[in-house]
Amino acid sequence: MSELIGIWVGAILTLLVFSYLLGDTPLFRIAQAIFVGVAVGYAVNVAAYSVLWEKLIGPLAQDPEQFWPLFVPLALGLMLFFKLRAAWSPLGNLPIAFLFGVGAALAIGGALSGALVPQLAATVVSLSPTRSVESAINNGLLVIGTIGALLSFRFLAQPQKPLARAADTLARGWSYFGRWFVLIAFGAIFASVAVSRVSALIDQMYFLLHDWLQVVR
């Protein structure tokens, strides 16, 4: 029975969302408000119960001597309430600064060690066709495209010296090809997003036809 109710509720909400095809209707707004409210309510419930109670307050209530280090995050969390009043707001800057400092350090360190350095090293490839002509072409395109994409974001005035002007002309020509690489990459990303959204549409249509209407096997 609960499964049947769930199917009907899901089908009705799906139709309410589809009503957006006719415009920004109140039906769509109702469905939107329901989704946002459910999502936020569930997130608050998880944060309050799964995090605050089970990992902070519960252990402190059971055995404070063993879990005494948890008093530090508890104090920092309580200090966030000082931001509610303007006169006490500076006291709330300490946990905010702690959060921002730790977050920035982790993000910068992770971006360097997890994305920038490994992916720059991956562009150092062999252009020799001895192993495979296909691989050599692929690596050549990788190098040309990477350098061209970087040069497409180069904004410099045209130099006056002949040698520098020749280098600038080469860079401009290369950046022209690099800009096409960037456009193709954006097109691929857009197509991937379109495919993903079409997959979501297919999933909902299959739900309506298979689970709700049961006209499809």
């Binding site: 990992k55 992916q119 495919v195 249509m205």
Partner: protein, 632 residues
């Protein structure tokens, strides 16, 4: 010599041209001129011999002789420093006062003093004396004392104070004389002629605006102009600048020429200029006369202004009824208004070409919706599956992913990160179900986790669905560890040191008490980490915070939208395997011999893609045709 005061560095008098500095012997010796310079050279004056100061006896003899010979016509040397008008007007009295100062003797010791002078001195001795003031005034110059007396005489409440000092000057004598209005005629007749001349008539007092009948006013009338100016300057101390001499400062006669020129001159009092002489712009600057507060203005009831009326007149002004004033347009404003009206009255310019008529746009949008809906729906009713027949399997990323899972040893532990929510569940659920079933076929133990609040129930649903078919036990073969809080910090901490001591799973069981997770200390204990990433942000989170820090073996199953970003990690060999989208799920179902919903939906996706391509092509053709017609 004309006795004109000259500056100290002047050699010749500025008025008469007479030599001021005495010519000394040897001065005519001109020093040799400096070659190359044509500027006038000031002759170098050798140190002059200091003339011996006359002895006191000689000075007294000289003064006594002068007094005996002609006491009236005698002019002391100090008078040379006074201006001519002052010396001429007060020579007799000044001579008398100076003789007293020089001799410093009491009046009784003056043998040749006249009787009238004795009477005057006796009158002065009767006046009240203020010793402190007298001592102070004795050190001051005479002109400062005069100014002070004049200022004191202006105050009606303060009685006129005479200076009883034996060094009383001519002004004190004159005030003593004029301060006695009821002087008998006999005594007046005994006064000398020059003293009678000093006494102003009553008509003069009235004419000059002084207080009628007041002796002090008469005294003020006799004050020279420069002293009157000093009085005015003293009466207005705020407007007095630094050049005005104060009490105790250097008098004007002792100042150099350049400084006297800079000093404010004793000009007559300013009189209001005639209206015709005042420029219009100056007349506009004249402040309006302050309007006395009327009875209708509010009275302040509280605060420091309590009791005052009309101090804060804003509220009263706002409450008043303001009559409507008809504004007159200026000539240039009227001209501008006419130009603006002519612009408005002119026929409108050619209308801008509208790219797409609204009616056409309204009709095209439902057509696109209907076309896409048919493309998605119709394949479900077709008996044949065209897409699966042409599905390429070997050499694909899905095959590589499948081989990676197949190489996992039995009873090894794999971490599944469910990093997607309901928005991409349509394609991600298919991938998650297919991979989880393959893992359970391989008897690989599974631990699930999620950094999204909505990820934990999705993991629970996928695991329970797959475990029911594979006879997997909770806590022994698989565990849903639930929500991992902290985002970057949480993932980094988990990669380094695993869960905390008080961590619980999705069903509130302590992880350290479960057989599967009791021996897991960190993320390195997992044979493989498979991330189900619905977005590239979730993939980046695990790649940057877990894979790079703990050097984990990570494989990713992503949505189609996150595939371009995941390919970069795959090409950089940070991901050991990658599968994405509905196509990857269908390939995986075929590879694992588990035909499911992915293959069924693949037809609909293919049809939808064809419909989208058709719409894009038709749209571009229509755009080109419209552009060609527009140019033609």
């Amino acid at each position: 010599m004309c006795s004109t005061p000259n500056s100290t560095d002047s050699v010749f008098c500025n008025n008469c041209g007479a030599r001021v500095v005495p010519l000394l012997a040897g001065e005519d010796r001109v020093p040799p001129p400096i070659k190359g310079l044509s500027l006038p050279v000031k002759p170098v004056t050798p140190p002059a011999e200091i003339a011996p100061a006359p002895r006191a006896e000689e000075s007294q003899d000289w003064l006594a002789n002068l007094r005996a010979a002609a006491p009236v016509q005698d002019t002391p040397e100090s008078l040379d420093e006074l201006p001519d008008w002052l010396r001429e007007a007060n020579a007799p009295a000044d001579a008398d006062a100076r003789s007293q100062e020089t001799q410093s003797a009491p009046a009784e010791q003056v043998p040749e003093d006249d009787s009238w002078m004795r009477e005057l001195r006796q009158k002065a001795a009767v006046e009240p004396v203020t010793p402190a003031v007298e001592e102070t005034e004795a050190d001051e110059p005479s002109w400062i004392r005069d100014a002070r007396r004049a200022a004191t005489a202006e105050s009606p409440s303060e009685p006129a104070r005479a200076d009883a000092s034996p060094e009383m000057d001519w002004i004190a004598h004159a005030r003593d004389v004029t301060a006695t209005p009821a002087t008998p005629a006999g005594e007046t007749e005994n006064d000398p002629a020059w003293l009678e001349n000093l006494r102003p008539t009553r008509a003069e007092i009235v004419t000059r605006g002084e207080i009628a009948g007041d002796a002090e006013g008469a005294f003020n009338d006799e004050i020279p102009d420069w002293l009157s100016d000093a009085e005015r300057a003293r009466a207005i101390p705020e407007t007095r600048d630094f050049l005005t001499p104060r009490a105790g400062e250097t008098p004007a006669e002792e100042t150099p020429e350049w400084l006297r020129m800079a000093m404010p001159s004793a000009s007559p009092p300013l009189e209001p200029a005639a209206a015709s002489e005042i420029p219009a712009w100056v007349a506009q600057l004249k402040p309006l006369p302050a309007t006395p507060p009327s009875a209708g203005e509010p009275v302040e009831m509280s605060g420091p202004l309590a009791g005052l009326r009309g101090i804060l007149p804003l509220a009263h002004a706002l409450a008043q009824v303001h009559p409507r004033v008809a504004l007159r347009a200026r000539s240039n404003g009227a001209t501008g208004a006419q130009v603006f009206e002519s612009i408005l009255a002119a026929p409108a310019a050619a209308e801008l070409p509208r790219s797409i008529p609204r009616r056409v746009a309204l009709t095209l949008r439902p057509v696109i919706f209907i076309l896409l809906l048919l493309a998605v729906t119709i394949p479900f009713f077709l008996p044949a599956n065209f897409a699966s027949a042409n599905l390429r399997i070997s050499g694909t990323l899905a095959a590589e992913f499948f081989d990676t899972v197949q190489t996992l040893p039995a009873n090894s532990t794999v971490l599944l990160a469910f990093e997607y929510d309901a928005s991409v569940a349509g394609e991600m659920d298919l991938l998650a179900h297919a991979i989880t079933r393959q893992l359970m076929q391989r008897r690989v133990k599974i631990v699930a986790i999620s950094t999204l609040e909505a990820g934990a129930p999705i993991a629970q649903r996928v695991l329970q669905s797959a475990a029911a078919a594979s006879n997997y036990r909770v806590g022994v073969d698989y565990v849903n560890a639930g929500f991992l809080a902290g985002q970057e910090a949480g993932v980094a901490q988990f990669a380094a040191s695993g869960w905390g001591a008080n961590a619980v799973d999705f069903e509130r069981r302590a992880l350290r008490q479960l057989p599967l997770t009791a021996n897991l200390k960190s993320a390195r204990d997992f044979a493989l980490v498979i991330e189900f990433a619905g977005s590239d942000d979730a993939l980046k989170l695990w790649m940057e915070q877990a894979q790079a820090r703990a050097n984990l073996r990570v494989a990713a199953a992503t949505s189609a939208a996150a595939e371009p970003k995941a390919r970069a990690y795959k090409d950089a060999k940070q991901l050991i395997a990658l599968v994405s989208g509905l196509t990857g799920a269908a390939q995986y179902e075929v590879l694992s011999n588990q035909p499911g919903q992915a293959i069924v939906r693949l037809n609909a996706q293919s049809a939808a893609m064809m419909a989208l391509v058709l719409i894009v092509v038709l749209g571009n053709v229509a755009y080109v045709i419209a552009r060609v017609r527009g140019k033609a």
